[in-house]
């Protein structure tokens, strides 16, 4: 019941302003509670909520496709879907399935004015949706969570929002573990874990003996990842350590059976042209991979050679075809003899996204 206790204590501090973006000091970082996990304490009427709903939809419609054209941002259709999700997260679940009470509201055409319990105040709903449209604040920071695979992960400013492409790393690990069972029993590392997404995703497919160490330099990421690990009850099998890349892993050098990572890989020059949601709101430290975008990927290759056991597996996410080919070339020539069975895997959009291989 560790989880219950820590959550209870977190609730008590959820009255802190949810929009503060100041970087708290190392020791006092408490993760923000996602909207869907907050207690439903705000009583509003369904008519007031419908008024907000109408207002939000109007705001979304006014966007049209202008954002798509300017920087590949969201269009009205997508924004309208996000409104539904925001409502889904904000409304109290009267029955066990959250969908039901949300749809009760959604399909209620009776025109009756019934009271509804919300997890955030109506004022906050107005303010949050304004931020979404006017400041392009990412939807996931608004609701404080990202649905990733079958997980719902807490995220907040300072932590990279896990991308759908990255979901595939878990499938890649799953395939490897099905073929080489012993890999599912050893010790893995997710370096630069951010929200803890990959660490949690892969741990859930391993056998009971496997352990995962998740590292991140950012104290915010460490606290958010710890929160997520606890929410899935994995605190005994996933350890979150703070530090740069492999530094916190010195004690397990040469013992890892697998390393996964989604390191910053965007070339520095591209950062300024990024979609507003990314460039203005997500942590640069999780995106900027140096001049060529390869700084950390190369560091990972070198580190993996030292950290992995012979036969150990790695999977890294990259910026695309060029980086994949460069990495393969680097591993085959510059550090020849370290790795074998190198492979490039494409994402669902057909972009060569991942490099995988085994320690020789």
């Amino acid at each position: 019941m560790k989880l219950g206790l820590s959550r209870a204590c977190l609730y008590s501090c959820s009255c802190a302003p949810i929009f503060s973006s100041s970087m708290p000091s190392l020791t006092t970082i408490k993760p923000k509670i996602p909207v869907f996990l907050r207690p439903p304490t705000y009583l509003v009427t369904s008519l007031d909520l419908q008024k907000w709903h109408g207002w939000a939809k109007n705001l979304a419609s006014s966007v049209g496709s202008s954002l798509v054209e300017s920087d590949n941002g969201p269009d009205s259709t997508l924004l309208c879907r996000e409104i539904n999700w925001l409502l889904e997260d904000s409304l109290e679940n009267r029955s066990s399935s959250s969908r039901f009470s949300f749809s009760q509201y959604k399909y209620d055409t009776s025109g009756k004015n019934e009271s509804v319990m919300l997890r955030i105040s109506l004022d906050d709903l107005y303010q949050l949706w304004k931020q979404r449209i006017e400041e392009r604040r990412p939807f996931q920071y608004i609701v404080g969570c990202e649905h990733w695979r079958d997980l719902v992960l807490s995220v907040q400013e300072g932590v990279l929002i896990p991308r759908p492409e990255t979901e595939l790393i878990v499938d890649l690990v799953h395939d490897v573990v099905s073929n080489y069972e012993e890999l599912g029993q050893g010790m893995w590392a997710d370096v630069g874990t951010g929200s803890g997404a990959i660490a949690i995703g892969i741990r859930r497919i391993f056998g009971s003996y496997a352990r995962v160490i998740a590292t991140d330099l950012s104290p915010v990421a460490v606290s958010v990842a710890t929160f997520n690990v606890q929410r899935y009850g994995l605190q005994d099998v996933i350890e979150v350590r703070q530090g740069s890349w492999f530094e916190p892993l010195k004690d397990v050098e040469g013992q890892l059976v697998g390393i996964v990572s989604n390191p910053p890989y965007i070339p520095s020059d591209n950062i300024s042209g990024l979609q507003a949601e990314v460039g203005r709101h997500e942590p640069r430290v999780a995106l900027d991979g140096g001049a060529s975008g390869m700084d950390y990927l190369l560091h990972l290759c070198n580190g993996a050679a030292a950290m992995l056991k012979p036969g150990g597996f790695f999977a890294f996410e990259t910026n695309g075809e060029k980086q994949c080919e460069f990495l393969i070339d680097y591993m085959q020539n510059d550090i020849a003899g370290s790795f074998c069975n190198l492979n490039i895997v494409s994402d669902f959009a057909g972009i060569q996204r991942f490099v995988t291989g085994f320690r020789q």
Binding site: R99, H147, W148, D150, N270, N319, R353
Partner: protein, 484 residues
Amino acid sequence: MSYLIVKRSCNRFSHLDFSKFQNFLSLNQNHKVLVSGLPSVLTKTIKNPSWSYFSVSKYHKFSHLSGKDKVLASGFGVLKSLFSTQAAVELSTSDGLTIDGIVASNWTILDESESDWKSHAAAIAQSIQVIKRRLQWKKLMVRLDLLSAQLNNPDLWDDPVHAGKISREHGSLMAKMKEVKALERELLEHIDMIKLAREEDDTELESETLKALLWMRRNSNEKELEALLSGEQDSCSCYIEVQGGAGGTESMDWAKMVMQMYKSWAQHHGYGVTVVDEMPGEIAGIKRATIKVDGEYAFGYAKAEVGVHRLVRISPFDSGKRRHTSFAAVAVIPILGDGSTRVQINESDLRIERFRAGGAGGQHVNTTESAVRIVHIPSGITATCQNERSQHMNKASAMAVLQSRLDQLEMARQAQINAQHTQSLTDIGWGNQIRSYVLHPYRMVKDLRTNYEVSDPDSVLEGEIDGFILSYLSASLDKDKDCP
């Protein structure tokens, strides 16, 4: 019956120890004995002026009448043990009214809320007939006779395996037959009772019997449904897909109205509704949409909606306020349960696409758009899902749709092999019009297959389509019967 009478006397003489009396009653099959054996306290109260001697004797006579039915019923037990089926004897009220007679009299069936006994009785009689049709009643009786004859054969048990089979089948058919007979008997008893109450001008008894009839109407309606929904996939959950026809915004708006009709219908029935896929129109409405309807018998009902739905109205999108005709096609796909054999899908036959691959992807893009499209290469069948919040879940959802589509394709193929099943789901070509919704110049919704019609299109569009569904289902029952 006797219970009702006793209950009435209890109403009047509340000081009676009713439960004891009831026990006493159930022990006594013979009502004559019952009446003469009344405890003295009751005999005394019967002399109360409010309960005229005349009426007591009437009740008495009546209970004797119903006793005839009782004799018949207990006769079943005897007959059963002799394995004969004189049960084919048609039941009737005291004045000779039979179930078929009721249906033949064509009493108007009014809404449940109207307290009209003839309407209730006609509705119940109709339900009973549907149930009999589904059971293929005449065939069932013939078969039952045959089985009874076999069971009466003293040599039967020389082959215990065969005998067991015969005896089991006999038992199961007998149970079905008795259930229907019990319904018939109950209805006829209620009719006798209500006629009596009218004769006696006994409003209390009349209203009580009306209540009992209403309860029975609902109950037999449910039983009728069970009989209607006995197809192999009927109990499954399903997907409902709606697609707008030619005609741009006008028909996309119509498609959205049709989809909304199903969403409300499903909500009213307590089904879970999830939007799986929705392609909005540019100005209004939807190009197409798929919803998942979760719950028992969702497919059994919804399958009646397959086909093209036609709308006639003054278009809100036409500045000239002209009358427009629009079309929307509806498809319904069962989601087979774990027990059924499902089509095996090879991963290598699939192409999985992200719906809107925006630029460089990965860390460059933050979008909540995680739509997934799956193409089954050998069949060309595709499935799309964009309403889940993660790509992984959208993929899982799209895979489930794809699986059901392939299952349905396979079922259609199988059905062609066994010509027996051909009536199930016909292809939805645009020619296959099933229902017409007219909002102007007059207002009416009419089913072109059954001629069932409703003059209030608003209620229909708000999801009240059960009348259409049920009339179609019972009409297809007749079609079934005509098939060899």
